[in-house]
Symmetry: C2
């Protein structure tokens, strides 16, 4: 997808840029890099947007350094783009107007674990796997799992979620507080360690999901959960999509506290079978996971089996065997690789929407029709407990431009359909550049309120400009 032409000019003139780079090199030495390879590597993420490198990439080690870099950039009105692990999907990392990329990967300390309060405070470069590894001996874990081993800072900035949001919520529900460097270099804290508060505006949730456009996140306090005593996994296949979705609706209405409920369509099941050497039927399928006490998990699983049976689910296979579960979920986690293996040399372009669950079957089926009408292969998987699903378009290697045109055409219909159904243009990938065109349709006048907030907090528009909306 081509970047927005209007944003293509560098913001800062050459003389100012030279002065800024000289200042950063003087302060940070080799940690301030102008190498094209380094700059390009920081500018793309997992997106198909044009690579638009920043003018300089700085590896920050502390919050004070982040503030210092922001102040330096602000002095020359140069844009600031924060970088975690580079796993964002919608072109969030492109430096559309040049400027400074702040890599926070080395800000990866776990600042404090409060086991009694079940919270943790981390620097933004800590990744979710690193965090859970660190927590293992405490009996606690952090549940939000977007698939990629993303940084917690990036996950907060994108309002990430993933497979188990249906039970544990998204970053919106699980960030208790933040520290943020603002566009003028001020450092603030938001929220705190109390589980709830009615003390003023919810700035925490204003920054969560703001995709670096309001400030750079330098610390995150997160809710943790007890590692469940027992876990069971199940797979059940349906003759049609409606049966699978109706089973999901019934599950949620029954209040079964299911931890994961993933839908995989027949195209993706084919890909999974081939890639993970499994032997499932090529049917709409639910992958399920239950967390709880030993007897609680048995009860949940049994009841879910009954529900699936009622809605035409086939043989309900479940297990509490850790190795068997691991293999099952590994197959689910490998869907991106499995997709790409359908057409060697291609890359997967993922899009996501989220709709009220009563509209999910219709939304998926109409999208499947669009895909089939275009004659392309594009598996659909979804975190269906939330009404959230993804389409993975295979791009390249033979006709990358043509593939992108088709993918974007289907994507446009999909997003407009989701919004018309009372849903949203993105459940978890964020807006970046890729969903900007739909913000007006989704938000109407409220988009202007977002702009007003942005301009108030970042009047020179230096924080990740050209993302979410243009000013």
């Amino acid at each position: 997808m081509a970047a927005d032409g209007d944003g293509a000019r560098p913001r800062t003139n050459q003389a100012d840029l030279g002065a800024l780079i000289a200042q950063l090199k003087a302060s940070y030495g080799e940690r301030a890099s102008t190498s094209l390879a380094v700059r390009e590597q920081h500018a793309q993420g997992f997106s198909f947007h044009d690579i638009r490198p920043a003018d300089v990439v700085v590896m920050a080690k502390t919050e004070a350094e982040v503030a210092d870099i922001v102040v330096a950039a602000a002095k020359y009105s140069a844009p600031v783009i924060a970088y975690g692990t580079g796993t964002s999907i919608e072109g969030q990392l492109a430096a559309l107007e040049g400027g400074v990329c702040i890599n926070t990967a080395e800000m990866n300390s776990i600042l404090s674990v409060n086991a009694e309060d079940m919270d943790v405070t981390v620097e933004p470069g800590v990744t979710r796997k690193q965090l859970n590894e660190h927590l293992r001996d405490t009996g606690l874990f952090f549940p939000v799992d977007p698939g990629a081993d993303a940084s917690i800072g990036g996950m907060a900035a994108t309002r990430a979620s993933g497979t188990n949001a249906v039970r544990y919520g998204t970053m919106r529900e699980n960030v208790l507080g933040l520290r943020v460097v603002l566009a003028d270099g001020r450092v603030i804290h938001t929220g705190g360690r109390a589980r709830k508060s009615a003390a003023g505006y919810d700035l925490t949730r204003l920054f969560v999901g703001s995709e670096g456009t309001l400030g750079v996140i330098t610390a995150i306090t997160l809710r943790l959960y007890g590692i469940p005593e027992a876990i069971s996994s199940a797979v059940v296949q349906f003759d049609d999509m409606e049966g699978a979705v109706n089973a999901v609706i019934a599950t949620i209405q029954w209040g079964i506290p299911i931890a994961r409920i993933e839908f995989i369509d027949e195209v993706q099941m084919d890909a999974i079978n081939r890639y993970s050497k499994l032997n499932y039927g090529l049917k709409p399928t639910l992958f399920l996971e239950f967390h709880g006490s030993t007897s609680g998990v048995t009860e949940q699983t049994t009841r879910m089996g009954e529900i699936c049976d009622e809605f035409g689910g086939g043989d309900f296979q479940w297990t509490t065997d850790a190795e068997e579960s691991r293999r099952l979920w590994q197959a689910r986690h490998d869907v991106a690789f499995a997709c790409v293996a359908l057409r060697p040399g291609s890359q997967a372009m993922a899009t996501d929407v989220c709709v009220p669950i009563s509209r999910l079957a219709e939304c998926v089926l109409e999208t499947r029709k669009d895909i089939d009408a275009e004659g392309v292969v594009a598996p659909i998987v979804g975190h269906v407990g939330d009404g959230n699903f993804h389409v993975a378009f295979l791009i390249g290697p033979d006709d990358r431009e043509g593939d992108l045109i088709i993918a974007n055409r289907i994507n446009k219909k999909l997003v407009e359909r989701a919004i018309a159904m009372g849903g949203t243009s993105t459940g978890e990938h964020g807006v970046g550049q890729g969903k900007m065109a739909y913000m007006d349709l989704e938000h109407g006048e409220a988009l202007d309120v977002m702009r007003t907030v942005k301009i108030a907090l970042d009047p020179n528009n230096i924080m990740n400009p050209g993302k979410i909306f243009t000013i």
Copy 2:
């Protein structure tokens, strides 16, 4: 508590005020009232702040009317205060600079119930009891329960919660979307019906808890939950506060999905025994409620009994009998009346803080010491699963001013202690006027960010001015 002197001047000159009132009377006839009795009745809520009536109270019936009234007020820079049921506690309703009070009580339609999606959209004047009555046949309910039969609009504006937030969350977690009339009369919608979204700034949560200072909420979309198959209630008494709190911590860490876990101190138990004609020991006590399947509730209750036993809890009495449960929780709900009955003719001034749960016992015990040192009677009850507790000070009838001075002295120490412990000045009552003095201590520089957002969205400061912070 006296109102802030600086805010005591009327904002609008007499001529403009006359014109504004004439316009409102012309449009709304008898629904626009300037009667002192009506105006005073709308200006106090459950607070001890001075009664500061608006100049005119208008009963609005539609969103379009709210917008029209706001536009009229804006024309004369007159303040706008939204009113739901008048149950706010921290002086949120006082018209410190005069202006227009918009009563939304007649905007009480339930606009749509989506049973499959487990959401509902309501007008702001719908009360929580009205909503749950309406939902009864659907098998769904709305869990947030602040005690009073508050309006949903007021609950959203105050970020209310209550006894079962530990399981179901607060208004922060349960509002999916809003419609809001802004200070310039524009009407926006925020959020939507999707369970999650990563599409831009989280304006929903910016308005939730903003206490009418950013706009008037005209519709609210809420998450609903299935009415649990089984409910059990339990009471357990401890020799000391620490045992009770440690049992709570263990419960949460074990992941027991407890629905209510209420702490009641020995002073309040005495009040409850007298008022509700019960016969509990005068000890730190937990009231508990479990929701789930029949076997799930039995398992939760049994395990909780074991935990309480481990931490020195006495006889663990539990029941699934609806009538017995009702009597128990009625006693809990009547704590305010029970308090007041300790000193006939007095009124209860309630304050609330929320701290990380590991600090809860210490915070409560130090507060109890402060209360005892002042020689006053002030029961403590708390939603301890969240680390949230209330102190009820008895004010009057003999020395109202003296009682308020003592209450505010203890309150100040309590709030400063809670903030020093990493907690918050208010878990669920909001800031209003009562907690304004602590905002700087709690938020530091972030308070200026709140002000910046406020000024950007309401440059003439007409929306409930003088609450949360001064401009």
